[in-house]
């Protein structure tokens, strides 16, 4: 039904000045200058025609290829799968396709961008066309398009998009999650904990006397402290804990499947680790402390914001009680 010759033939009859012979030569030259591989198979999948594109890319001689089975000439082809595909073209008389997006390539051919791309073989879009010349004689035409460029640029685009997505989640200074992503995560963890009746705890923490540090040593020193403290805290967490920069010198940690006592234990560990750590700025030793507020999700809580304000008030309590310590909203838990 789909027939390349038939599509070309109206041209031939309109242009009566061309003889059959000249027309044949023109068609052959076009086929040989196409930047697309053309391979024609007979019903037994033996190769009957191929064009120059394939000849130069496979570096094989025509005499060896013509008459050979496609699977013999190209042993890299997945025989069982391709046979079934070719059968569908024969039986249904419909074209069939194979895109690089599902299979990078069928034929192992070199490509012309060996330096700028990282794949060894030419990425291909293949089209399988049924060719009916006489009622009893069927052929299949395989068109092989080089889409190495498309594949390469799509890969670059994908990489750029992933980097962008990553950047939109990360705080530029400390390289931990930013406020927006942290809050989205809390919303999800809150919903998960509610649905599965799992415990969930939150730690809010704040650097003590951070303004004074900035005033005495300058903002570059303040930045260094933020970076180093983030690194230290990050090293004390489990993979499932979600650590983010909440604001200026305030940080927050989501602890999934953790109850209040577990959260307090971790907070105490973080508190003393930070106090013990001595940092250095311009040859001067700098010691900082943090205050922490801990809260556990209560049954009556209907929004994640409630959990934040609980942890927040525990943090204020820790500040009020002299800093460098952990307070929890355990009193409010007892009230429930």
């Amino acid at each position: 039904m789909f027939d390349v010759n038939e599509l070309i033939s109206p041209l031939a009859t309109e242009q009566t000045s061309l003889s059959e012979d000249v027309l044949k030569k023109i068609n052959r030259q076009i086929a040989n200058q196409l930047n697309t591989g053309v391979l024609v198979l007979d019903e037994a999948f033996n190769i009957v025609i191929w064009n120059r594109f394939l000849q130069v890319h496979t570096d094989k001689f025509g005499a060896d290829i013509i008459g050979q089975s496609i699977f013999q000439a190209f042993p890299e082809l997945p025989e069982r799968w391709l046979t079934r595909k070719l059968m569908s073209v024969m039986q249904l008389n419909t074209p069939n396709f194979c895109s690089w997006e599902q299979r990078h390539h069928l034929f192992e051919l070199p490509h012309t961008r060996p330096i700028t791309t990282d794949s060894e073989f030419m990425a291909q879009n293949c089209t399988f066309l049924p060719i009916v010349t006489e009622s009893s004689c069927k052929h299949i035409c395989i068109l092989i398009e080089d889409v190495t460029d498309v594949c390469h640029y799509q890969g670059q685009l994908q990489k750029a998009l992933e980097e962008l997505a990553q950047m939109s989640r990360i705080d530029g200074l400390t390289q931990i999650y930013n406020r927006r992503h942290w809050q989205e995560s809390l919303e999800q963890e809150f919903a998960k904990a509610k649905r599965h009746s799992k415990s969930l705890s939150l730690v809010m923490l704040d650097l003590d006397y951070f303004k004074l540090l900035n005033d005495n040593y300058g903002h570059q020193c303040g930045d260094m402290v933020l970076i180093e403290v983030s690194k230290l805290i990050g090293s004390l967490l489990r993979v499932e804990d979600i650590f983010g920069r909440y604001g200026g010198e305030e940080f927050a940690i989501i602890l999934p499947e953790t109850d209040l006592s577990g959260a307090i234990e971790l907070a105490e560990r973080i508190c003393s680790a930070v106090a013990k750590k001595s940092l250095e700025y311009n040859g001067e030793e700098i010691n900082v402390t943090i205050s922490l507020g801990v809260a556990q999700l209560r049954n009556k809580e209907v929004s994640y914001e409630g959990l934040i304000s609980q942890a927040d008030s525990a943090l204020y309590q820790a500040k009020a009680e002299g800093r460098n310590k952990v307070c929890s909203s355990s009193t409010s838990v007892a009230e429930v």
Binding site: N93, P95, F97
Partner: protein, 202 residues
């Protein structure tokens, strides 16, 4: 009623052509798949472009959509969309005669879509003395609302869409999908001319 809407006669004529095309296509498919294919009479609706978007977005759990462009003589062209639900996709490899490890789920969907679309449209084209060519089928990115997003981003303007609901029952497999043929405005005029020509011959 705009110039793009089909008259009652034209609608009947198109339904008849599609019934016949579907019957022949499923006969070919049965032979290819080597099993019995039971086919319900396809229901055909012509729907407004804007209505279609809301109809489709109401359709829950559409798992995947495969798009394939088609074009023939006399300006007959459009895009076929095949929409699958989660439960339709389990045994496509089996149905097509492949081993599951030979091809990915995406490739299975693309393959069955291409076969359904081209088999059906080839027979349809033959009935109106036409011949179709096809673009390579594409799986639309699997995000929610991908279908309505895709429709909104389409480059050509179209007012009318033909919604053909196909329901294939294959022995041992249950398989369902919706085929939607989007036809741009100019192509609708061309189809109406073809339908009128066929109606005159009766």
């Amino acid at each position: 009623m705009s110039e793009f809407h089909l008259t009652e006669d034209q609608q009947d004529c198109l339904q008849e052509l599609i019934n016949v095309a579907m019957g022949q296509a499923s006969d070919q498919l049965a032979r290819y798949l080597d099993t019995f294919v039971y086919l319900k009479v396809p229901s055909i609706e012509s729907v407004d472009g804007k209505e279609l978007i809301s109809t489709l977005s109401q359709q829950q759990n559409t798992m995947a959509v495969v798009s394939q462009g088609f074009f023939g003589y006399e300006g007959i062209r459009g895009e076929a969309l095949l929409a699958y639900q989660e439960e339709d996709s389990g045994r496509i490899a089996d149905l097509l005669g492949y081993e599951p490890e030979e091809l990915s789920q995406d490739e299975q969907l693309i393959d069955i879509s291409s076969i359904l679309t081209t088999t059906f449209l080839n027979v349809f084209a033959r009935q109106i003395d036409n011949q179709m060519s096809y673009n390579a089928p594409k799986l639309l990115p699997s995000v929610q609302n991908s279908l309505s997003e895709h429709l909104q981003q389409m480059t050509f303007n179209w007012d009318l869409a033909l919604k053909v609901n196909i329901n294939y029952q294959v022995t041992d497999y249950s398989f369902n999908c919706n085929m939607i043929l989007l036809i741009p405005e100019t192509a609708i005029i061309n189809i109406k001319n073809v339908l009128d020509r066929i109606l005159e011959d009766f």
